[in-house]
């Protein structure tokens, strides 16, 4: 009587019960992709748009099937976090990218004050960080997982000092800087140190507290010192009042700036700033025309312009891809060795190499001059031995 069909019904009943009792859900497998984090200020006032250009570049690469790593085609997944605002927010964003999103590497942050704590944390977490524009030496000093695309503040300060002393023939310099900002005070220090050691060189250092709006007290002292040049390693929000107040205070010498002058060109149209010279990593006139056109098209598509930060950010992505290709892995630790061993990488901002034991690149510097509201390439300074 227990024929096949009745056995079947019985078994089906048991199976249904078992299914009912043991309904479970296993974890979903993650598809293989190259996950990269981007930490960038996304909220006002200093909102960056480099991520738009970078996302476009990633989309183009993914449409072509991704990048080949270790014999496998991998799609790139770009995870963008807001690094802007406060240190707490930056640290939380870093924690989210690494611990929740499990990125293989982090591009950013862009400011030294953000990059330093983040580099410290990523060193512990053993995830490589490649900042496009944080120039302070503290970012990479003593670390193995921190890299940068831009020039080092010490290199920048030294290059500016030599140029001012040699090419411009100036001897008395003054520096006005934000004492609480790592970039500002750092670059100020490197410049002062280099300039004061050059023959006949003297430097008047004038710090100001973060958040100041009036710099007249410091500027009056600078004028009194008879400085021939005023070095302003500050950010554009502070630069406009500083330049205007300097001229108002009667300073007539040369205005000198760092690469922060290249982040926002709004103040370049001020009449007081014409003739000023600043150093930067990226000059369109010095870039490979084909790559430049391609990058500019990607930027234009998203309504952004190809500034220094966007160019450095694109180079950061290409450096990460080159490193993954070189080691054939996207594992964070392998990726770090890949970055450290890159040499002669040709990017949009020029040739970049890393020397063993340092996250700072050996790279060229461009000197720009503001003329008629626009910046033009004045000189290209080759890397100097440290």
């Amino acid at each position: 009587m227990l024929d096949r069909s009745r056995y079947g019904v019985f078994l089906a009943l048991c199976a249904a019960l078992l299914l009912l009792l043991s309904a479970c859900s296993g974890p979903q497998g993650q598809s293989e992709e190259y996950r990269l984090g981007l930490m960038e200020p996304l909220s006002s006032p200093d909102r960056f748009t480099a991520y738009l250009v970078l996302q476009e570049r990633v989309d183009v690469l993914n449409r072509q099937g991704g990048v080949e790593v270790g014999g496998r085609k991998m799609k790139i997944r770009l995870l963008v976090e807001d690094s802007g605002g406060t240190t707490e927010k930056t640290m939380s964003a870093m924690g989210k990218l690494v611990q929740q999103e499990r990125v293989s590497g982090v591009i950013g942050p862009f400011y030294s004050r953000e990059a330093i704590p983040v580099a410290a944390a990523l060193e512990t977490l053993r995830v490589p960080m490649l900042t496009p524009s944080a120039t302070n030496p503290e970012v990479t000093r003593g670390r193995t997982f921190a890299f940068r695309v831009c020039q080092l503040d010490s290199d920048q300060g030294r290059a500016l000092a030599r140029y001012a002393h040699g090419e411009l023939g100036l001897r008395r310099a003054a520096v006005l800087y934000d004492e609480a900002d790592a970039y500002s005070s750092g670059l100020a220090g490197f410049f002062a140190e280099a300039f004061s050691t050059l023959p006949g060189g003297s430097v008047q250092k004038e710090p100001y507290p973060a958040g100041s709006t009036s710099f007249l007290k410091q500027l009056m002292r600078i004028r009194a010192s008879g400085a021939q040049l005023l070095f302003l390693p500050n950010f554009p929000t502070d630069l406009a009042p500083q330049i205007q107040q300097a001229r108002a205070a009667g300073f007539t010498g040369v205005l000198l700036g760092g690469d922060s002058w290249d982040t926002d060109h709004g103040f370049h149209s001020l009449p007081e700033v014409q003739g000023a010279i600043y150093s930067t990593d990226f000059a369109p006139a010095a870039a490979d025309p084909a790559r430049l056109a391609e990058a500019q098209a990607m930027a234009a598509k998203n309504g952004a312009s190809l500034g220094k930060n966007a160019a450095l950010t694109l180079d950061a992505l290409d450096l990460f891809i080159a490193a993954a290709r070189k080691v054939g892995s996207t594992d964070p630790v392998s990726l770090r060795s890949g970055l450290a061993s890159l040499s002669g990488f040709e990017g949009l901002t020029g040739s970049i190499s890393f020397t063993p034991g340092s996250g700072d690149p050996v790279r060229s510097t461009c000197l720009m001059e503001i003329q008629g509201g626009k910046s033009a390439l004045r000189a290209r300074l080759n890397p100097e031995p440290r």
Binding site: M1, L21, T87, E88, M94, Q99, Q100, A121, A210
Partner: protein
């Protein structure tokens, strides 16, 4: 196993019962498990939620307490002279300030660092950690907020200690409300996290823990990948970090199935999770279901034994009837089923026995009837056979075999029979078609035909085809040979003279009629010789009738010897004979025959002169002397008398018809 179950009624009953019982047991077990699990789940969630609420309150109280402490300290610091801004706008804290900060840190193990910051620029002017002094906190939220009023900075990974830190801060103001400094305190979360993780009231596996916004387990302390991987991908953490609070069943980071309640606390940017393993929470449900199933299984086994005993009792009469039925099927009609009960099964046995008895009687009657029918068939003089529509012979009784002289194995079909009993192919064909035709008719006529017996003798048969039930036919055949023979004898006696065997007058007239008709059609001539013996009366009288009969017999023999085979010699009566000579080309051909007859009948030397004493012969021709038999016979008779009158032993030809006188012969 399947076969034995199929063959045994008892096994089928017991196995059916067991299967149904198992299904019911499984259903009841599953239902009780599911229902109790659902109830337990609700209860466990309620406990977890209560616990989570309690821990959240603990956390809020802890933070509030630290803020109160900071406020008190700010008030104390504001009264110290060094706090006033110095030359560069920076407060210059004295030894008392440092002592106060250190004393507080020493008293509170959760205070990681106490800081005093300049009102502008964020410079650290005093700290329990000497390394921090001189550095800047301008970009820190706790500093920016702390300048405005009491602030709680939600949890973040501290760049200094690389641990999750919660910072409370507060402005230090003088009596006029002038901002003198900002006091801040980094709180390590470990102590509070340990308190939160205590398992009070959550059983053996229940736990409550804090996770920061980057899914780092707060209590684990160090910021490294190992701790980052913990709790990272449990469903509860994923849900709560997306900003949702709720509860669900999921697998914890340790791979344990848990019931979890999770709450997102936006004020601290932390999540509070309370979890308890499902195994512990649902253990009572498992116990209940297992107990139910065990008790039900025991009950099912006991009941199965009862079903077994009952089904054996029920099955025994059925098995007895089955055995008896199998014996009957095997041919033993004497088999009877024992009647053991008075219920339906007893009735079944009784009915079966009655049926078997009836069957036995019927079988006997049929057997007797069959034997009788067989004897009838066997003893019948007539031939009886059963044939199919196709002509195949199915049965053939001894009468039939006698009739045709062949047995059933020799003649499997009518076609073979036809081959054996007919030599002519036309006859065979006719025989077969006639029988086939008869087979299709309702009441076919009797068929009489001659055939060749196996012995070679020609015999006669009468045959009738009768339909039988089904497609078959009965052939009834009778031997007609004897009847046919006696019929032939009677017919011969009626047409011949019994003494001489010659055709008598009736046959003579018939033959003459036929000869005349033929002559008329064919344009040929017929002659008759009318013969009367001379002196026969005298011989009869002198030597007796026996001698007369001998004379007549001898005469008939001599007459027959004088003529052709086709000629007819007849005796008309007494001593008068007639010869018909048909098919003559010319009448004169008859005269030599007449003369020969006269010559043969005049033989005085034979028989001592007592046999052939001469004869008078009258000859008449057709159509010369008449075209009908009476005329012709009369003219021949007249010519014979003429010869007799002339003294006998002569031949006279009748006169031509118009002269009316007989012609002289010699």
């Amino acid at each position: 196993m399947r076969w034995s179950v199929r063959k045994s009624l008892v096994a089928r009953l017991v196995s059916t019962y067991l299967v149904l019982s198992l299904v019911v047991i499984v259903c009841v077990g599953a239902a009780s498990w599911l229902v109790s699990r659902e109830l337990l789940k609700e209860a466990a969630f309620a406990r977890l939620e209560t616990s989570a609420r309690q821990k959240e309150t603990d956390l809020a109280l802890w933070v509030e307490e630290r803020l109160r402490d900071l406020n008190l300290m700010g008030t104390l610091l504001a009264k110290q002279p060094g706090i006033r801004a110095g030359a560069q706008g920076l407060p210059k804290p004295g030894a008392e300030t440092m002592a106060l900060l250190h004393a507080y840190k020493a008293s509170q193990q959760d205070a990681r660092e106490l800081l005093l910051l300049a009102p502008t620029g964020g410079r650290v002017v005093a700290s329990t950690e000497p390394a921090s002094v001189g550095s800047y906190r301008a970009s820190y939220n706790f500093y920016l907020q702390g300048r405005q009023g009491p602030a709680v900075q939600s949890v973040y990974p501290s760049p200094d200690s690389l641990t999750p830190v919660l910072t409370v801060s507060m402005p230090v103001k003088d009596e006029e409300g002038q901002l003198l400094a900002v006091i801040a305190m980094h709180l390590t979360l470990e102590p509070i996290a340990q308190i939160i993780r205590s398992r009070a009231g959550l059983g053996d596996t229940g736990e409550t823990y804090l996770v920061d916004s980057s899914s780092l387990l707060v209590a684990s302390g160090r910021l490294d990948m190992e701790s980052a991987q913990r709790k990272a991908h449990s469903e509860g953490v994923v849900q709560v970090l997306s900003g949702k609070s709720g509860r669900s069943l999921y697998v914890s980071d340790a791979g344990v199935r848990v019931l979890g309640v999770y709450r997102w606390m936006p004020a601290y940017q932390m999540a509070l999770l309370a979890e308890m393993s499902q195994a512990e929470a649902f253990a009572p449900a498992n116990r209940l279901a297992l107990t139910l199933v065990f008790v039900a299984l025991v009950a099912a086994v006991i009941l199965a034994a009862g079903v077994y005993a009952l089904s054996r009792r029920l099955a025994r009469p059925v098995l007895d009837v089955t055995r008896a039925a199998m014996a009957v099927a095997g041919g033993d009609l004497t088999a009877r089923a024992p009647v053991e009960t008075t219920d339906e099964l007893g009735n079944l046995a009784r009915a079966f026995n009655a049926m078997t008895g009836e069957l036995s009687d019927l079988y006997e009657r049929l057997e007797l009837e069959g034997r009788e029918r067989g004897a009838i068939l066997h003893g019948s003089f007539d031939g009886i056979a059963v044939v199919g529509k196709s002509g195949a012979v199915d049965y053939c009784n001894p009468g039939m075999e006698r009739l045709f002289g062949c047995t059933l194995p020799d003649t499997p079909s009518l076609a073979v029979l036809a081959d054996r009993i007919f030599t002519d192919s036309e006859e065979r064909r006719s025989f077969i078609t006639t029988l086939q035709d008869d087979m299709t008719r309702d009441n076919p006529p009797e068929r009489v035909f001659a055939f060749q017996h196996k012995s070679g003798a020609r015999r006669w048969c009468r045959l009738k085809v009768s339909p039988m039930h089904g497609d078959r036919m009965v052939l009834n055949a009778q031997d007609l040979t004897e009847i046919k023979a006696s019929e032939e004898r009677v017919r011969h006696m009626a047409l011949h003279d019994h003494l001489t065997g010659l055709p008598n007058r009736q046959l003579f007239l018939d033959r003459l009629d036929q000869a005349l008709r033929r002559a008329k059609r064919g344009g040929v001539n017929v002659a008759i010789l009318y013969i009367d013996l001379d002196h026969f009366k005298g011989l009869n009288d002198a030597y007796g009738h026996a001698h007369g009969d001998r004379v007549l017999v001898e005469t008939s023999l001599r007459l027959r010897a004088c003529v052709r085979e086709s000629d007819t010699v007849a005796r008309l009566g007494g001593d008068e004979f007639v010869i018909i000579l048909p098919d003559l080309v010319q009448v004169e051909d008859a005269l030599p025959v007449a003369e020969k007859v006269r010559h043969q009948l005049f033989d005085p030397d034979s028989g001592g002169g007592r046999l052939f004493l001469g004869a008078s012969v009258g000859v008449a021709f057709s159509p010369e002397h008449g075209q009908d038999q009476d005329t012709l016979l009369a003219r021949a008779d007249a010519a014979m008398y003429e010869a007799k009158r002339g003294g006998g032993n002569a031949v006279r030809v009748a006169f031509p018809f118009r002269q009316g006188q007989p012609a002289e012969a010699d």
